[in-house]
Symmetry: D4
Subunit: 226 residues, 8 copies
């Protein structure tokens, strides 16, 4: 870890060494930053790294301003994601399944980030366990995956069901949908941790981004070993 | 509601009118009462009512003392239940399913209380969703039930799965098994409330008794209408 | 459970088998869906099922758009409910009681959904326990019910009182009214679970819909047996 | 407030001025103190004050040791209370009602402390709202009280019901009985605060002592005015 | 309790018997009611009772509409209170103290309601314990009170300090001011319950109304005995 | 998923299909089971599967009884783990790092389970961030790992630091050590979810077992692809 | 503590003695006060004290109005701080480090308040532990500080890392940034309290002001001793 | 930070560089360590450092065993603290005040640790705010302190009162005494954070050790500057 692997932007200190350490440049978290700040950070990240540069949770108008200042990128409105230099798709099959239509934004972020960093993504929506035949009929798809991301709000039971069906890594993303006892995703987060399906792992509420990054770590170590 | 339908025992005021109002004498909650108190209450309930008399959550030694003082009852050690004058079994099919072996004590209480008040109970244990084929292969049993009680700790996902499979009433009982994020049954309780399966109802943590009583209410109104 | 009982709409997978399994087509949860999505789902549900089709928690302007695209339905503004093909009223007496005027929207949802699926509903408002004569004077109405739904915010004590007065099933709905220690309905939810009245069951906070669906399950099993 | 109204015992600083300020000597909280410490404190309080001296939550063996060292007192085992120089009973009618037999220890503490400081106490046990006729038949007793203390665990609904029946001050004491969603008295505490009965006040969980002291404040100001 | 002491307004059932039971007509909680509903309720309450009629937490524009429909009342904008037929001031000295300027709205509600029901109110603002001389210099005022209401947000320490200075009843009102660890008044509520000053009682967060009603109960019983 | 892949033991239904689905026979959770039950389950699992059979969280005396009835296994007292037929070590480098000496039991469970299922485990203890040089000097070890499990109680900061140092998958295990604001591991669990290091995943509190199973999933999919 | 050291403004009672007791006049908390109230308070504080007068958390438009009425002050828009008569910079080196760009507003408040009361402040932004080289390369700066304020949201791990690097006082400020499991700063607050770095102290969530005041206390006692 | 400043004990990695970085050798946290482990760690710490060596929260029997193996130390049973080579007392006046007799163990730990690291400690017990004259009469002592540690359970109001009386650093220690709404010290912790006294800092619940270490940091930086 070289102390010099930092680019100082006064309001931010870019971690220039991250691409070498982790196989991916630092990803920018959009909320709370002005379009000028995002543009300045993005330009430097593009200059100091060679891989994909991403900004998450960007509103459409901010995205337009940034793309005007830092050309060459593209914006995914559903995923609220800005991407420059997306990675070529590698041989790593990731399936993103979501329980209900309200989980779509988070599932979209997971799929878009994973695609941008080079994973081969298949998304299947609305397979909640209240109609169990919906998840049972995609068992083949699930079993051929290298990793499955399960996106679910309310009680999050889909994670347990999928976790029991497949042997590959399952990354559960609790979603802040639902009302009352859903407690903004806390119930799903706790339920996923208490799951009877062994070996599930969990990321933060609504963090489609975090799940995609966890999948990237899986793919990266596999690639390194290949 | 007659003000005189109370039998005053100094330390307790027995609700003598309950059998007429609700089809079942007052049930005694055992914890915190001495065997003398339980015996006194039980004797009076037997005298003032004609139906089954139950005491829940009784330790084995206390039960032996009470049975010595108030003969004619029987004790179920697994369910920790004392029963006098159990009701004849009526035509109401109740299935009690539980997710794991740790849920057995609560499932046993539900089954024993329901049997004592006259329901026709079938119990199926250890059908947690991590091995989904276990619940799928009892679908016929579930579909022929008048009511299903689902007993589950940890994340409680079995309630959602059963709730989606059948159209009859499903009463979910969260159990205080599990550790860490299970929070003594709170996670299961919240998850059951946030369930994507419409029309589930939920009772208190570990309350096999409460679930059986809810089933009794269902059967009672049906019987009244018949 | 036939894997083919799914209608795939890309953004949603309709559970076409639900009417056969549970006596009622899938009910659509409105929030987060566009009027186009609701219209598309509704049209398919009407085509693949024969019973009532409902959309819950729909704003007035969205409802108007949907009704323009899928004619034949009606909108209940208080309950925020869209209904097509309401069921004929069957012989099942449901009473919906609410504690205060702030509980009206939730009580209305319960009553409207229950009516749409064919229950015979009577609603009684504003019978909170601070003026106990209000609930005492409707005892006859309560005792003649097949099921009572109790809708109450704040401390939710009405559920315990009604639960002690009647022997039929009592479904408690905590409401997110009140302030401070009411904690958006959490206090009422916990209090209803901790109730001293045996055999109460509880649904999610503000879920008039869930309570009506639980009542539908009760009526359905009764009808099946008849 | 005189800086000199303190008696310094090294490990404790007795508030000698309290009797003058509040009409009652400092009351000793027993837990965590040795019998030697309790004896030393008690002896000084008896010396520096003229009114009743109380020690709360004392185990039987500790109480016996203290009474051996500081004669003239008496011990109430149910209330776990030591008292020296109890006050003469004044004209202030306090009723202590409790919901279930598990609430007896807390109700006993309230009654014993209130009696020791001179209030005229009537206690009525086991009048929980699941059998509403039990509280309705003591309405006359409640209405003739100067203050009512309501002791209730579980959902604490008795406080709301009593609060609606009478116009005098009602002090609610949540009790840590019950299980699951009772959360060691927290649910009752919150429910009592969220009560629909206006003008209830609440004290700490299990604090029969606190309720009795609140009643003493009421009586004291009345006496001062007389 | 006469079953006929109810006036049925369809959307509300007025508790006409309350004035006789509790010395004050039912008080109307404004939020969630239309000006038409408030006017209808108010008119009936004025007709069926003889004492003061109050509506709490009313916005200025709603208040103007109601006063246009039900003349003779007055509106206090700070306290957001509508009052008709305020009671004559009786001989009961109530002091309302508040800790900081942010506590003023709640303190104002307490003072205005208490004044409307006939208590003799003195209000002292901004005497938080960070500058202890502020509360010490009003000790005389506090000691001559029949009851003190302490209104405090943040950590609510003023309640403990006042509780230790006086012997009369102290009613603590936690306020939802502060940020972070203040948790919208929950910290103050818990701190007031855990107070080392014996005999404090507590009402709901921000409930100046509740504190005033508790004071009214104190005064009412005193008056009844006089 | 074949409905017949269940072995029915009356009190338990063994999921015989799990080894085929997930590469490992069902693992037995010890608490709440008698040694007879564990022996019966273990014998059947050994008979119906070919891979390793594990029982977690077994006390020493129970373990001795089981080994007497089901020979051929071994017991690890620190990890409280029973193992029969451990898997041959495969080429998958797992590093288990723990923050403090109190985290040892959980780290031991993770290491022992992972070893039993065939991973090549290196454990490094006591590298908490309060002495940052301890983790910095093992960077090489961490970077050469295929996966790192981070076991930490208190504030769990080690997970963030390790997550920032390496690009491979990092599985964080919160531990219930610490006191006060550690809240039995809840603070560490939440902190790990809120971590600024992207792509961390988290398992349940104290679940060394869960972390090892998550690592097994990673290795299994890699092996399948090889 | 002189009872007369209060200036009574009707709606507020200024603590005129605070400058003498604590080395700094009372600081005004802006939210909830009108510009007229702030102006009145500020004018009196300037008249009765000789040191700096500050108003925190003031919106820009309010600030402009106040400065129009009470000339001579200045407004820092980032820190939302109004200052009159800032103190001369004394020999006390305070470093404010923050973890991410979202922590800037809180870090700015800390730096601005500390500067206004006379501390020599250096601010370093965006040194979160996910890129550990960023904090390692400022070790010299940290070690030469008299006190370090660490401002961090999410999991707050920076506080533990800095706490382990330096021997001077470290004041941790949790920030309400992050989402999901960050719980508006609560996770960071708890994590900082559970930190493995001994001797950290913590202030309220988002309280840059509180941290600066704690630093002022440190400097003041040092100055007094000099 | 030298990577070599670690002494590796297999089960523990001693941070040998801490004395140089922070002016004090690593302090050993006793719970969960055997007397052999404590002895081994202590012996190495004594060998590699020159300053005081401390072990906290040690039971009496463990302490005796350790002292037998590592001579020269002493044990303070009240503080549960082992000390070797206590530091000479320096010119830094620390006052430890506690609110009630139940706070004594925590206050003793704070005082004993602070004394061992060389601070001049004065302890004053039982000055809770319910008898305010107790803290008012020690104002002189408080004002002459370089730092005050306030130890308080229940509602922790003493911290706010002391914080308002003095200008020096005030370190608040919440204590897990009290019952019910005290929530094992959580209420005191939150109340101390929400305190109206500016510039208080807070340490973990029951952490007399943490408060003493924070005081040591204050003294150390002062000494360094002298």
């Amino acid at each position: 870890m070289h102390p010099t692997s930092v680019h100082d932007l006064d309001f931010a200190q870019l971690d220039i060494g991250r691409e070498q350490r982790q196989g991916l440049p630092e990803v920018v978290y959009g909320p709370g930053k002005t379009s000028e700040q995002i543009s300045a950070i993005t330009a430097e990240l593009l200059r100091h790294n060679s891989g994909p540069v991403l900004v998450t949770r960007v509103a459409a108008d901010t995205a337009a301003e940034v793309l005007g200042q830092v050309p060459g990128g593209s914006y995914d409105a559903t995923a609220r994601l800005l991407v420059w230099r997306p990675a070529a798709t590698q041989d790593f099959a990731l399936t993103v399944v979501s329980a209900g239509t309200s989980d779509l934004p988070v599932a979209s972020e997971a799929a878009a980030v994973a695609t941008a960093v080079g994973l081969a993504v298949t998304a299947v929506h609305d397979v909640g366990v209240a109609g169990l035949q919906r998840v049972l009929r995609i068992q083949e798809q699930l079993r051929e995956s290298d990793t499955v991301i399960v996106v679910a709000g309310m009680e999050g039971a889909l994670a347990s069901v999928v976790g029991g069906l497949v042997g590959c890594p399952v990354i559960a993303v609790p979603v802040s949908t639902g009302y009352g006892a859903s407690f903004e995703g806390v119930t799903a987060l706790l339920a996923m941790h208490a799951s009877c399906a062994a070996g599930l792992t969990v990321v933060n509420i609504d963090s489609g981004f975090g799940a995609a990054m966890a999948a990237h770590r899986l793919a990266w170590v596999g690639r390194r070993r290949a």
